[in-house]
C-alpha cells in the first residue's frame, strides 16, 4: 500500500482524540524486541514533536513526529504483509511516526529515520516499525533542514 504524505495527514489525535494513547507494539521495535506497548503523548506546544515512551518510570522513550508538512516528497510503501498485520485500509486509519534522533550537542541538527517509520492503525492503536518497500529513496538519517523543507 502506497501512502502519500501530505500536510493533512498530520493529525496527532488518535483513539479518543486524547493527548495520551497506548500503542500496542506486538513485535517490539528494532533493537528493542521485548517492548510490547508504549504510550504516545503530546503537548500542543511541542508539536510536531511527540513522545513515544514506555509507561514505567525511567523507561525507554523516543521522540517521534508525523512527517506530513515537514518532509516534502515523502511517501511510504507498506508491504502487503504489514498492511495485513496492521489491518489498515488507507491514509484515514494510518498514522506514520518517524523516530527523531537528537544531536548530542544542542547546536547540531535533528535527524529523522524515514526508512523505518512506526506505522500505527489509528482505530486499533496497534503499531509496527516497518521498513518501507521504497526505502532506497530515503535516508535513515534524514537531516531536518528546517529552512529548506519548503514549509
Amino acid at each position: 500500500m502506497k501512502l502519500k504524505v501530505d500536510e493533512d495527514s498530520n493529525v496527532p489525535e488518535i483513539g479518543h482524540a486524547d493527548t495520551r494513547s497506548e500503542i500496542k507494539l506486538p513485535q517490539g521495535l528494532f533493537g528493542f524486541a521485548e517492548i510490547r506497548s508504549m504510550e504516545l503523548v503530546f503537548d500542543q506546544d511541542e508539536l510536531p514533536f511527540m513522545w513515544l515512551r514506555e509507561q514505567k518510570q525511567d523507561g525507554l522513550a523516543f521522540i517521534v513526529l508525523e512527517p506530513g508538512g515537514i518532509i516534502s516528497n515523502y511517501s511510504v510503501e507498506i508491504s502487503d504483509a504489514d498492511v495485513k498485520f496492521l489491518d489498515i485500509t488507507g491514509p484515514e486509519d494510518t498514522m506514520i511516526l518517524n523516530i527523531v534522533t537528537l544531536p548530542p550537542d544542542q547546536s547540531g541538527k535533528v535527524s529523522l529515520n524515514l526508512v523505518g517509520p512506526i506505522i500505527v492503525n489509528r482505530k486499533t492503536l496497534t503499531g509496527k516499525q516497518c521498513i518501507i518497500n521504497n526505502h532506497e529513496e530515503f535516508s535513515a538519517r534524514h537531516v531536518l533542514d528546517v529552512g529548506g523543507e519548503g514549509l
Binding site: 511541542e46 510536531p48 514533536f49 513522545w51 537528537l102 541538527k109 528546517v146
Partner: protein, 99 residues
C-alpha cells in the same frame, strides 16, 4: 546454522514456497535470486542493522515525568520547526494559536 555449498545456477529450496538460486558469481560478490511469497519480508541485513543502531541512537533515557520536551528539544532546528508548525497552524485557523 546449516551451511551448504552451491555452484552457479544451483539452488536451494526452503519449505514449499521459498527458492533461492545462485545466478552470478563475480569476484567476491554473489548474485542471489529469491522466489518467495509476497508476505515474506526479504531485506539486506545491513538495513535491519541500520534500523537497530538508529533506534539505539534515538532512544532517550531519563525523561521528565510530564510530557515536556522543551529542554530536550533545545536544538535550534527543533525549536525552529515547532515555531514554524505553530505559525502555520495559526495561519490556517486564521486566529493566533493561543492553546
Amino acid at each position: 546454522m546449516l551451511i551448504l555449498s552451491r555452484k552457479l545456477d544451483q539452488g536451494i529450496t526452503i519449505g514449499d514456497e521459498i527458492e533461492i538460486s545462485i545466478t552470478k558469481i563475480e569476484g567476491d560478490s554473489v548474485k542471489i535470486g529469491i522466489s518467495a511469497p509476497r508476505s515474506i519480508s526479504i531485506l539486506r541485513r545491513e538495513i535491519l542493522e541500520e534500523m537497530q543502531s538508529s533506534n539505539l541512537a534515538a532512544a532517550v533515557t531519563s525523561i521528565p515525568k510530564q510530557s515536556n520536551l522543551k529542554s530536550t528539544l533545545a536544538a535550534s532546528s527543533a525549536k525552529q520547526l515547532i515555531a514554524q508548525m505553530r505559525a502555520k497552524k495559526a495561519a490556517k485557523e486564521g486566529t493566533p494559536d493561543n492553546k
